[in-house]
Symmetry: C2
Subunit: 282 residues, 2 copies
């Protein structure tokens, strides 16, 4: 590109006003190292999870203890069910848990309160009200005091047996198709995959019951699952989330609900369709 042209383009970029839905620099906020869970799969595949530390603290506490112990290291992604979930942990579900990990965790299917910074214009099919918290989590509520995190695509849930207290955080799953909203209020949501989701969503589906791999060789081994704060400083990933407590984010939702012509909008958008942007720290 000729130099003059490049200079003109730069000048134009500097003088073009940002769209109402574009974030300002201050909208990007750091995700603390102790809220980043880094899962390294074989083949140099890394999946990074942001933990909902303030919303489901008891399960996140367990998860931090499991990570510190190295409990997942050498385990696997053992279940990938088409249009449903990918699940990882110990396939036998019998591996002893490390000391200090609670085994009868009071369920955190719900969160303490519904406190979105932005609300969706319409109720959705699984909740009376829905919105995004200031720190970027999709939350939903029955409108009568109960509130919970939505099982959107890429959220991380705690697998469990029938007993509501049986989910420790050792076995985790993420929806890989249509959002698994019918799990809302029935499973604890502990985080969201913010990087490397395709390493789970594009895995071969399992042929066994509920998508469990029939052949152990099909499992994807987990090399390690570690909090970023426990990694050597030079290996720590640094991510920022886009805060929702500002008019730019309101404009973002509005644009999803009322897209510019010629696109025909409906005046609504699913809470799971709001882009919860995350970027690497510049």
């Amino acid at each position: 590109m000729p130099l003059l042209h490049a200079i003109l383009l730069l000048l134009q970029a500097a003088t073009t006003p940002a769209a109402a839905h574009d974030p300002l620099p201050e909208d990007w906020r750091t995700i603390p190292d102790e809220e980043l869970l880094v899962m390294r799969l074989t083949g140099n595949r890394t999946v990074t999870i942001r933990l909902a530390a303030t919303l489901t603290p008891r399960h996140v506490d367990n998860i931090r203890r499991l990570a510190a112990y190295g409990w997942w290291n050498g385990e696997s992604v053992y279940r990938v069910q088409e249009n449903w979930v990918a699940q990882w942990g110990d396939v036998t579900e019998k591996k002893p848990l490390p000391p200090g990990v609670a085994t009868a965790v009071a369920p955190e299917f719900e969160i303490a309160r519904f406190a979105p910074a932005q609300r969706m214009s319409r109720a959705d099919t699984h909740s009376a009200v829905a919105g995004i918290t200031a720190d970027g989590w999709p939350v939903t509520s029955d409108g009568h005091g109960a509130a919970w995190l939505a099982h959107c695509y890429g959220m991380v849930g705690v697998a469990r047996d029938e007993a509501p207290t049986s989910g420790t955080g050792a076995e985790l799953f993420t929806p890989i198709g249509q959002s698994a909203r019918r799990l809302d209020r029935n499973y604890a949501v502990v985080g969201r995959i913010i990087d490397g989701m395709h390493h789970l969503s594009a895995l071969p589906r399992g042929a066994g019951a509920m998508g469990v791999y029939a052949d152990p060789a099909e499992r994807t081994p987990i090399r390690s699952m570690t909090l970023a704060s426990a990694l050597p400083v030079s290996e720590r990933p640094h991510f920022q989330y886009r805060a929702a407590d500002n008019p730019r984010f309101a404009a973002l939702i509005h644009r999803r609900e009322y897209p510019p012509a010629p696109t025909i909008g409906s005046g609504g958008a699913d809470v799971c369709e709001v882009p919860l942007e995350v970027r690497r720290a510049p």
Copy 2:
């Protein structure tokens, strides 16, 4: 298993009344051969599409002509965008169309009328009313006369350029993550993948813009895409859909909306969560 035990189990199965949401034999209806589009990918992977022949007839007519001509044979799945769509056809979008294929098809973003056999209890975020037609299609409406097919996971849409009439049916896509409902009324929906969806949803994601594969070698070649009616009789697949115009299907939706305890339901379910069952003809 001891023989006596087996006999007892058989007797029990024969005498246990079916649940209210279980289909009766007459609920299974044949999908005609000319409404089954069979896409064979390399590696013995087959994806079967049910065409919405009565709802988007102009695009389906084009698709039948393209299939009869063998237009897709040797083309590829060239775009797989994480949590969005997989797309196939001619990557250059410039390959000449066969004679008789209309190039300025009047858009079929909407269908003639909203005629569900079963309605969802709640409006959803993208439509005032939603339901399932007697022959098993998810339909939605603004409640004021406009109706359209919903871009649920696995539905097949017609890719196009900016001009609304630019979609011929030659380039097709399917949502592979969160349902692409914000495409509703903006793209023609011509069918649904009823078998082999994992051959598309589990493909590696493309690293190029919009998920297009950066390297042509990453594309998945299409060996053939043919109507079942054009296949040798011995090779034709035979599928049946579960009809929705009966109280068993109403009970199925009700069970999704109000699941049995201890599961906590919301009294709602997304139209894209209704299982639109299909089976191979017995």
